[in-house]
Symmetry: C2
Subunit: 242 residues, 2 copies
């Protein structure tokens, strides 16, 4: 273990690491940052490859031996963190290679879902409901952004999550598409073992392509005066209720 | 309609209005601020008492006659708004007097729920699921805070929402308490027409008082590797699934 302390935000490794807060650098490097002891533990437990770990000097006791562990000041840690009050540790982790998906299962497809909290929450719920994979389509927010990782609470490491084009709709059996339209069936009438469930954009809903490709358009009945549900809540009702 | 334009953030009425962004002033005044044309429309449709309306000069065409309508500059509007990009209108609305609740229905009880997005989303879902009322207990975040109002999307005006002490647990029949404990029943086995559902704090869960008062402790089975769900998602699954 290296006992010297990084005290400058301008340290070369810190500057390189900080870039990973931006999507374009994550795309190029194939790695991303996680924050906090809970996420680090989940990443290690799930066999993720941890490139390097930065720990705040006052929290050194909290982390076992990592091959590439650096002690940093609180100010330096803050500079590579997305939060106001970082939880003592930031680590760089390699993205996993989940490009191959078995379509014979329960899949969640996120189409143009924009809010990081919603995407993280949907990943967490897909994990809780034992879905086989999550597929991101279109302009869905980067699953490796700090806010998505935070609200996914470690579920990012529990199931395959991949980026695909909406051409996959042509190759999927039992494509269930969640809509607000009453010209669709109540989800409680659908009885399927295996399916792919499409959840759309917060404002605009699902695409024309999804609607045209659907095996079944489904809706959650609005029993009161609300016009719609939050997409993460709707996804939860459908993943546990279908 | 008053055609003069308020151009100063230091205008007395603007300064008074701005205070309503803080809970203590909302508590004292019995009124709160809403933002955006959608919420204003929902408030009017629901018969809420609108005290005054502030509209950005460029958007005057969007609002019909209100008795107390003021035109303001964008900068002034921003000063009484909680968002970076206010949507052209802010209005002061009187809190409704929902102190009397009929306990013979479906009630959602929010106990110490802290995140404004979660509370707003739970109110929206309770509306969509045709619950009869929402009761806030303990340290649950103020339902009239701008973020809660925003994520409730107008549902705040669709059903009674009241603040009570946890003594109400002693007076409620069929108190269902959502827990993570396996020493509780799977929610899918519960068959009740009328009940009160308690959702607890994001980190600490429900209180000892709730557990002791419960007619039934219930849980959502975690089928994958996630340890828990977001409280708004869990509330959605239970409100639509019970």
């Amino acid at each position: 273990m290296n006992n010297s302390i990084i005290t400058s935000r301008d340290n070369v490794r810190i500057k390189e690491t900080r870039k990973l807060l931006q999507k374009k650098y994550r795309d190029n490097s194939g790695s991303f940052l996680i924050e906090g002891f809970h996420l680090l533990e989940e990443a290690v437990k799930s066999g993720m490859e941890v490139h390097q770990v930065f720990i705040e000097e006052s929290r050194q006791d909290r982390v076992q031996d990592f091959p590439n562990l650096s002690i940093v000041t609180r100010e330096v840690l803050k500079s590579i963190s997305d939060t106001e009050n970082p939880q003592g540790v930031v680590a760089e982790v390699a993205k996993s290679d989940d490009s191959v998906i078995d379509f014979a299962g329960k899949l969640l497809i996120l189409e143009n879902v924009q809010d990081p909290g919603n995407v993280g929450s949907l990943i967490r719920t897909a994990d809780a409901a034992a879905f086989d994979a999550v597929i991101c389509v279109g302009e869905t927010v980067d699953i490796y952004s700090p806010k998505v990782l935070r609200s996914a609470q470690g579920s990012t490491f529990h199931l395959p999550i991949v980026q695909k084009s909406d051409n996959i709709y042509d190759h999927v059996e039992n494509l269930l598409v969640s809509t607000l339209s009453r010209d669709s069936v109540d989800y409680r009438t659908v009885k399927l073992e295996h399916f792919s469930l499409v959840m759309g954009n917060e404002g605009a809903g699902v695409s024309e392509k999804a609607i045209k490709s659907a095996s079944q358009l489904i809706h959650i009945p609005m029993l009161g005066k609300a016009e719609s549900l939050n997409v993460a809540v709707a996804g939860g009702i459908l993943m546990f209720g279908l």
